[in-house]
């Protein structure tokens, strides 16, 4: 009996390994031009936006703008160096986060295996700079990124709080100053209810005390509003857009849609 | 070998477990330590075995302070058998007995002899975890036998509490043999019969104090023990003519 259990577990593990291995087959991308590896979903989406998606040969797990069968070579925090080198990239793009760029990637770039480019993508200006530099790097003819919002004459609510959906009785993550959504709000003539910088977790009571004129809950998929937010006596606007949470050049579309949504209500 | 206790007092925090115990024991003697529960028997034995440092007084072995002895030296002179042994690994009984040779160097012969004396030779490859309480107790005694140096001290805390009649007799024979080789054997016991049968001398404790001490025939009487234990005792004689202390 004892050994049958072990045998069963071994067979189960074997089948699992076999199945999981077959679960995802990668598609090798053949390209005569650049061979791009992008480890940032925002940068990948921008590359696709400027028509260079066909040259992406490697991606991060979160880069959903390209074919899911393109090999994953890491993310913002860890890199599969062997896999990356096997793809023979000419250019590697990473997003600058609060930490440092991977030192071994820097070393490989210095050794001439590929050129490494890094951008911050927290603000609209930074995203625009990333977009415009990509045009140059990839020799693409295109206009610099501009966000053009129409003047409608309809005033915006006094203060606006932008946040992700929470769960049950809890609030989601709120967008403070010096984030790209705050920049978009500023462009619309709106005022962010939050005075501090970055992404912030607030309690329901904090939000009640801030007393924004309206709460805009954003997501890239369908969601249910949390009980906590619903309990506040504050108007809520739900905004769903597939690119709202990715800091890419597609925020130009996001900006127009968001302005329309807020003003409509 | 001479064991001498001079004014030995042991405290656990504010509680005094034993106070001002004086005693002297020569080699070749079996001494039974008797007393009601919580009278300090185990404390006294642990102190003699060097496992407890007295708050006052001295335990001396041939003039050397037992509390100050290095672990290896003490192990070569004193062997200890607890009432309940503990082993936190999946050892066999043989391995547990071999541990008695830790300080003295391995000796297959001593281990085999010890196992044979307690009737565990054929069961020595059983796991200690799976052994009965009686087997574990005998394994503890065997370990002490493997460890002991003839002419040393053997200290046992209720060595027959988990044993059947046959093995109680076996242990009695073992202790007599050790004493005949010059050992000082000190054992805490609860059963008068074992004390009567085996002990040359008796020490009786009550409330941490030594109340009676001397030859077993002089100390083990209905009146003296009845006072200590607070029960009525009397002599009864069996068919073989042996006398036993019983409660009428």
């Amino acid at each position: 009996m004892k050994h049958r259990i072990e045998l069963f577990l071994c067979v189960l593990i074997g089948l699992l390994l076999y199945g999981l291995n077959g679960c995802t087959q990668s598609v090798p991308v053949e390209t005569s031009g650049e061979r791009i590896v992008s480890l940032s979903p925002g940068i990948t989406a921008t590359i696709v936006d400027i028509g260079q998606g066909k040259n992406v040969v490697g991606r991060s797990a979160f880069c959903t703008a390209v074919d899911a069968r393109i090999p994953v070579v890491g993310d913002l925090y860890s890199v599969d160096y062997e896999r990356l080198l096997r793809l023979r990239p000419t250019k590697v793009f990473v997003q600058k986060t609060a930490g440092e760029i991977d030192s071994h990637l820097l070393k490989l770039a210095e050794e001439g295996d590929f050129s490494l480019h890094a951008w911050k993508c927290d603000r609209v200006g930074e995203i625009a700079a990333m977009h415009d530099e990509l045009l140059q790097l990839l020799s693409v003819k295109g206009a610099p990124m501009r966000i053009t919002l129409q003047e409608t004459g309809i005033p915006l609510p006094e203060t606006i709080l932008i946040m992700t959906p929470g769960s049950d009785g809890k609030a989601g993550l709120c967008f403070g100053r010096q984030t790209y959504l705050d920049d978009l709000l500023d462009m619309m003539g709106g005022i962010n209810a939050i005075k501090s910088s970055g992404w912030i977790s607030l309690s329901i009571e904090d939000i009640a005390r801030l007393s924004p004129s309206v709460i805009v809950v954003i997501s890239d998929t369908q969601f249910a509003l949390s009980k906590g937010i619903l309990s506040l006596d504050i108007p809520i606007i739900s905004f769903i857009h597939p690119d709202v949470l990715i800091p890419s050049s597609r925020i130009t579309e996001v900006a127009i849609a968001l302005q329309h949504k807020i003003r409509a209500q | 070998m001479r064991l001498k206790l001079s004014g030995v007092t042991v405290r656990y925090g504010v509680r005094t477990a034993i106070r001002s115990i004086d005693a002297g024991i020569e080699g070749g003697k079996i001494v039974a330590v008797l007393g009601p529960n919580a009278s300090g028997k185990t404390t006294l034995l642990r102190t003699i075995a060097g496992l407890q440092v007295p708050a006052a007084g001295l335990v001396e072995l041939d003039g050397a302070n037992v509390s100050k002895m290095k672990p290896h030296d003490l192990a070569s002179k004193v062997a200890w058998v607890p009432r309940v042994g503990e082993v936190s690994s999946s050892f066999t009984i043989r391995k547990v007995v071999e541990l008695g040779r830790y300080a003295l160097g391995p000796s297959r012969q001593r281990v085999e002899d010890a196992l044979a004396k307690v009737g565990l030779l054929s069961r020595s490859d059983s796991l200690w975890f799976e052994a009965s309480a009686g087997m574990r107790q005998r394994a503890g005694i065997a370990r002490a036998l493997a460890q002991r140096t003839p002419g040393g001290v053997l200290v046992l805390d209720e060595p027959t509490s988990a044993l059947d009649l046959r093995h109680i007799r076996m242990v009695g024979d073992v202790l007599r043999q050790c004493a005949s080789e010059g050992d000082i054997v000190i054992a805490a016991v609860h059963t008068m019969a074992f004390a009567l049968d085996v002990a040359d001398e008796v020490i009786v404790l009550r409330d941490g104090q030594l109340v009676l001490a001397g030859d077993s025939s002089a100390v083990l009487t209905p009146s003296s023990l009845g006072d200590v234990f607070g029960v009525d005792l009397a002599w009864a004689t069996d068919d073989a003519g042996n006398r036993h202390l019983v409660q009428p």
Partner: protein, 326 residues
């Protein structure tokens, strides 16, 4: 050493060699197909470094776990019971925070932060566990849990203070990972320290056996318990600290490897420590082999996930075989 145990150790070593060869040779090409072939020179380092790291970390964590299980008389003891991983994590988070706030790198970076955090935690646990000059095992377990919780709280405070990007970086560290790039000098030094640590524990094997008795029985057979506990604590902690510094807090290896070795070879701790080192290295290397093979479309799994799954299954088997006793 019994012949049977020698044969078992040789078999374990052969399995380890097989796992190492597999690690060197398994290649997942860009189209996802797997093949077995020696890698080109360009890629050799990316296989050798994690392979050597797995040997060092796996054996260190395994033997550390064994030492702590004897020290604490607790079959569920592992290197993390002393709050080591939380302490190292706190060091890493604190380093990230100060680098972020000052805008400058901290000398030694996260490695030094992990080391400092781990060692300070161990000093704290050691200091608070001492009773009448010696370590009290029960107190040490409780103190370890408390220190672990406190370090965890400290980690959460720093996580609250740092930007989102750094939180993700820390979460990645928490899952554990074998380095793919490391200086051979550093690996050599850490490997040598681990080898010395394991050799010491193997040398003390008979003393560890005797320390498995109760306190009174151990003392009575001649064990200097305070000294033995100090030595075990220092050596086991150092081995675990090296594991954390090199690979972060990898789960289960330190807990499972000693039990796995005991299941294979019922023997004294001298032989068992060698067996445990081999089993620990094998466990970690096998986990690394498995993660080369599995691709869920999100890249390779963090090694901590694989060791947790394997560890959980192995533990289940051990419990079923031992009828509830390990």
């Amino acid at each position: 050493m019994k012949t049977k145990n020698i044969v078992l150790l040789i078999l374990l070593a052969l399995l380890l060699i097989a796992a190492a060869v597999f690690r060197l040779m398994i290649t997942r090409d860009v189209d996802g197909t797997l093949s077995l072939a020696m890698p080109e020179d360009t890629f050799l380092m990316y296989r050798l470094v994690p392979l050597v790291s797995a040997l060092i970390v796996g054996s260190a964590l395994g033997v550390s776990g064994m030492g702590l299980q004897v020290l604490l008389r607790n079959p569920l003891a592992s290197p993390w019971i002393l709050g080591l991983s939380s302490g190292a994590g706190l060091g890493v988070m604190a380093t990230m925070y100060f680098e972020h706030v000052t805008g400058n790198g901290v000398f030694g970076g996260q490695t030094l932060g992990a080391m400092a955090g781990a060692l300070l935690t161990l000093l704290l646990v050691f200091g608070l566990s001492r009773r009448r000059g010696g370590i009290d095992p029960m107190t040490m377990v409780l103190v370890g849990v408390v220190v672990s919780v406190l370090c965890g709280a400290g980690i959460m405070v720093f996580q609250h203070l740092v930007p989102m990007g750094l939180r993700g970086s820390f979460t990645t560290w928490l899952m554990g990972s074998l380095p793919e790039v490391e200086s051979w000098g550093r690996l050599g030094i850490l490997g040598a320290i681990v080898l010395i640590g394991i050799s010491l524990i193997a040398w003390w094997g008979p003393t560890l056996d005797a320390a498995c008795l109760s306190d009174d029985e151990a003392k009575s057979v001649g064990v200097d318990l305070p000294k033995v506990r100090r030595r075990l604590f220092v050596t086991s902690s150092l081995l675990a600290a090296i594991g954390v510094i090199l690979a972060g807090p990898i789960a289960f290896v330190g807990l499972i490897a000693p039990h796995g070795a005991r299941l294979i070879m019922r023997s004294s701790h001298r032989t068992l420590s060698i067996g445990t080192a081999l089993v620990g290295a094998l466990l970690l290397l096998a986990a690394d082999d498995i993660r080369q093979v599995i691709d869920l479309g999100t890249g390779r799994l963090p090694i901590g996930i694989v060791t947790s799954i394997i560890g959980g299954l192995v533990f289940l088997v051990l419990l079923l075989r031992g009828k509830g006793r390990i």
